[in-house]
């Protein structure tokens, strides 16, 4: 049985991860944050790159610590036949296997779905690849901004009339991981109903494409190809970011007459409210550029957070565009446990970004920080696989546990 101290809706589900960098580990993290027991297979000779980024201590690497909370780490040298055999024994006692290693690498290690199904007939296996596991481009690898560009998403993000530069370069991996976790849970339901496992073949490019699905569907129906449109909304005006002071911006989205009047009132701009160019929503949509220019002049003298709050209090949806500094210091987010503390081997505790869910009653615990390399060797080898201490020492001596 999985370790008894895990709570939450996925308590009792065991996941084996062969994952690196971001998308794969993020999938594992979400399942762990829902209560699953997630065991990450690692080895000194084949580390998750995130253990090396941003420092020299592989047990205190900032990127790694920021993702892998509530994950268990077991060391296995998969370059040895014995190591591969041990991995298979772990998989035989698991429900789900997730990998995001290079296309073809799982098959070369004998860890393809057909081979694993022979060991664990109802296994759920999920492979996360840039383009999925097969097909004409299935061999290619790449990074998140490439997924986003290929997916159709980047083409829709940019300032009007400029080269579409897309979302921030960090966007993409985490969403692909979230969709992998989602598909694994769907497969658990199918297994629960029928006893059947299955193979899930996830394309990170398509993960991004699915985030612009409505735009693509509309294009298929109307023939109008969507393009990067700044902050334009076809059904709201004003809709965008308006400057406050030197570097602040507040988002404002006004959908109707009441919100428009409240906006003009809050800005103390009766002339704007009476301006015939902006009389109806249709007028405001047609004269959007002039409207944005007039509004920007009016918002610029204000403090961002203060203006946004006054607008909200007047019934106008508005919020400050939060910088990283604003976010880290935000009392509301800390109060809601959006940011929370977990255990940390070096400093005792460490702040992390908590899950987006609060589940009650009996919600999952998110309390333990990311694991040391091999921190859970004892649990996995002794309790799960039933090896003796002597057998384990022998594997360590021969660098099978490495």
């Amino acid at each position: 049985m999985p370790r008894p101290d895990r709570k939450g809706p996925l308590a009792g589900i065991r996941v084996i991860e062969l994952t690196k960098v971001w998308a794969g580990p993020y999938a594992g993290k979400l399942l762990a944050h829902l209560g699953a027991e997630v065991i990450k297979i690692e080895s000194r000779s084949n580390l998750d790159e995130m253990r090396a980024y941003g420092g020299v201590d592989i047990d205190a690497a900032p990127y790694f610590l920021s993702i892998n909370q509530e994950i268990l780490s077991v060391q296995v040298n998969m370059k040895t036949a014995e190591g591969l055999d041990l991995v298979k024994r772990m998989i035989a006692q698991s429900d789900i296997v997730i990998d995001n290693i290079r296309p073809g690498a799982m098959a070369r290690s004998g860890l393809d779905y057909e081979s694993l199904r022979a060991i664990k007939p109802d296994l759920i296996q999920c492979a996360i690849k840039m383009w999925g596991t097969d097909g004409p481009l299935g061999y290619q690898t790449g990074y998140a901004p490439c997924f986003a560009a290929l997916s159709g998403l980047t083409a829709l993000v940019g300032h009007e009339g400029e080269t579409p530069r897309g979302m921030n370069i960090r966007y993409g991996d985490s969403t692909a991981g979230a969709l992998a976790a989602l598909a694994c849970l769907a497969a658990l339901h199918h297994r629960e109903s029928t006893g059947e496992g299955q193979f899930i073949d996830l394309s990170a490019v398509e993960a991004m494409t699915s985030l612009v699905g409505d735009s693509l569907f509309a294009a298929s129906v109307t023939g109008d190809v969507p393009r990067a449109d700044g902050n334009v909304h076809p059904e709201m005006a004003p809709h965008g970011f308006y400057p406050c002071g030197e570097s602040g911006w507040t988002s404002i989205a006004a959908a109707n007459e009441a919100e428009w009047q409240a906006l003009c009132g809050t800005l103390g701009a009766p002339a704007l409210a009476a301006d015939p160019r902006f009389e109806t929503l249709a007028d405001r949509l047609s004269n959007r550029a002039e409207l944005d220019a007039e509004l920007s002049a009016l918002t610029r003298p204000h403090d961002t957070a203060d203006l946004a709050e006054r607008l909200r209090n007047a019934g106008v949806p508005a919020f400050k565009a939060m910088s990283s500094m604003d976010l880290c210091a935000d009392a509301f987010l800390w109060g809601r446990d959006a940011f929370r503390m977990v255990s940390d081997h070096r400093n005792g505790s460490r702040p992390i970004i908590g899950p987006s869910w609060r589940i009650s009653p009996e919600g999952p615990q998110v309390e333990r920080g990311a694991p040391l390399l091999g921190e859970h060797n004892g649990y996995v080898y002794r309790e799960l696989l039933g090896l003796s201490e002597g057998e384990m020492d022998d594997l360590i001596a021969r660098k099978v546990i490495d």
């Binding site: 986003a148 109307t222 565009a321």
Partner: protein
């Protein structure tokens, strides 16, 4: 091939009226759950949102595939009782309304769990439960502002350019829908095993934060400096989009091998020798990035996106086309995977549905039914619940 969906046997009631909740329902419906959409008299708000074709909303048609529709006026006592009967035989309720509405309709978490202890109740809201009332009307552009992605998008945005709302109108709604469907499915698994329901509070802003865990997390922990810089999430380096003859390409370059490949692709012009062979690894300064971009911009402007990126891939250079809605349906890999599903829609005729990023061997996602007519399933669903 079986036509069984992964979630077959699960019944979900959707009272949601914003895209975040509707998309949660779509994810579950496309995976095979029976999702009953409860629409207000006159129809769901998304039926009135464009773009329109043949008098119908393409947005509604996209968001509500594989769902059933019943019409109930939840402010009406008799109809509200019908909803309770639906919930009594359902496994999950998906909602996305603010506190005031939930109170008025008797759908607060407390009321729902008391009346239906064996129900998973997922409530997706901009800031989660207990947020100040004036925050609860936040729209997607406000959510993406509150979560930090707007301020930091695109990379390298100068201070005088506005932050961006992201792709399309509903990016933060789709992200939130993923987490809501994920958490709901987890809780539904527990329901099947233990027979007990749970309440799930999803914050759309928290989803935005979680998606940047390893960048913002380092700042929270004091390992990277949080700041007011628009570039705080950036990675540096020359990677960005460039205009070419027939569109745009995205180039990401981080290694000597990438640089050598690109130089060869360009025919080794003289200007490339202004930069060290290993400049990407050891001399990737802003002036060098600027110098590179100035020259490269001129060269790439004369190229066509598909041939040049194919040649780049062969040369080991991560340069890809910035694909548009026109490119995707013709793209060989999308075709191979069957990402777009052709189907006939009753109003639109032949259409192409984007499906899911996950190909599931036993339970493939499919659009089996177009979005329902208003109240299409009124009798069937209500009879079953009576």
């Amino acid at each position: 091939m079986t036509t069984r969906g992964a979630l077959e046997g699960l019944t979900v009631i959707e009272t949601a009226e914003r895209v975040s909740g509707e998309y949660t329902g779509k994810l579950l419906a496309d995976l095979g759950a029976e999702v009953v959409k409860v629409e207000r008299p006159g129809g769901a708000p998304s039926r009135a949102m464009g773009p329109f074709a043949a008098g119908e909303s393409t947005l509604f048609a996209y968001l509500n595939t594989n769902k059933k529709s019943v019409v109930l006026d939840l402010a009406d006592g008799a109809d509200r009782k019908v909803l309770d009967r639906l919930l009594a035989r359902a496994h999950a309720l998906i909602d996305d309304h603010d506190e005031g509405w939930c109170r008025a309709m008797g759908l607060t978490p407390e009321r729902v769990s008391r009346a239906h202890p064996a129900l998973v109740h997922a409530l997706v809201t901009p800031f989660g439960q207990d947020a100040p009332e004036s925050w609860q009307g936040a729209r997607p552009i406000n959510v993406i502002a509150a979560g930090g992605w707007a301020y930091h998008s695109p990379s390298e945005t100068p201070a005088d350019k506005p932050p961006l709302k992201g792709a399309g109108r509903f990016l933060s709604d789709y992200e939130a829908g993923i987490d809501a469907a994920l958490a709901a499915m987890a809780s539904l698994l527990r329901l099947r095993r233990e027979g007990r329901g749970q309440f799930i509070d999803i914050s759309e802003v928290d989803v935005q934060l979680n998606r940047i865990d390893c960048v913002l997390g380092r700042m929270l922990a004091g390992e990277a400096e949080p700041s007011d810089a628009r570039t705080a999430y950036d990675m540096g380096g020359p990677g960005t989009s460039f205009a070419c003859r027939d569109g745009h390409v995205f180039l990401l370059m981080t290694s000597r091998a990438h640089w050598q490949g690109l130089c060869a692709l360009m025919g080794n012009p003289a200007w490339t020798r202004e930069l060290r062979e290993d400049w990407l690894e050891f001399d990737c300064t802003p002036p060098n990035v600027a110098r590179f971009r100035e020259h490269f911009t001129g060269w790439i402007a004369g190229q066509d996106k598909h041939p040049v990126t194919e040649a780049a891939q062969k040369a080991g250079v991560p340069m890809v086309p910035v694909q548009t809605a026109n490119d995707l349906p013709h793209h060989e890999q999308f075709i191979h995977r069957g990402f777009f599903q052709q189907a006939v829609h009753p109003a639109f005729g032949e259409v192409s549905y984007p499906t899911a990023a996950y190909r599931m061997s036993a339970t493939p996602v499919a659009v089996k039914a177009a979005a329902p007519r208003l109240g299409a399933d009124q009798e069937d669903v209500l009879d079953a619940a009576s």
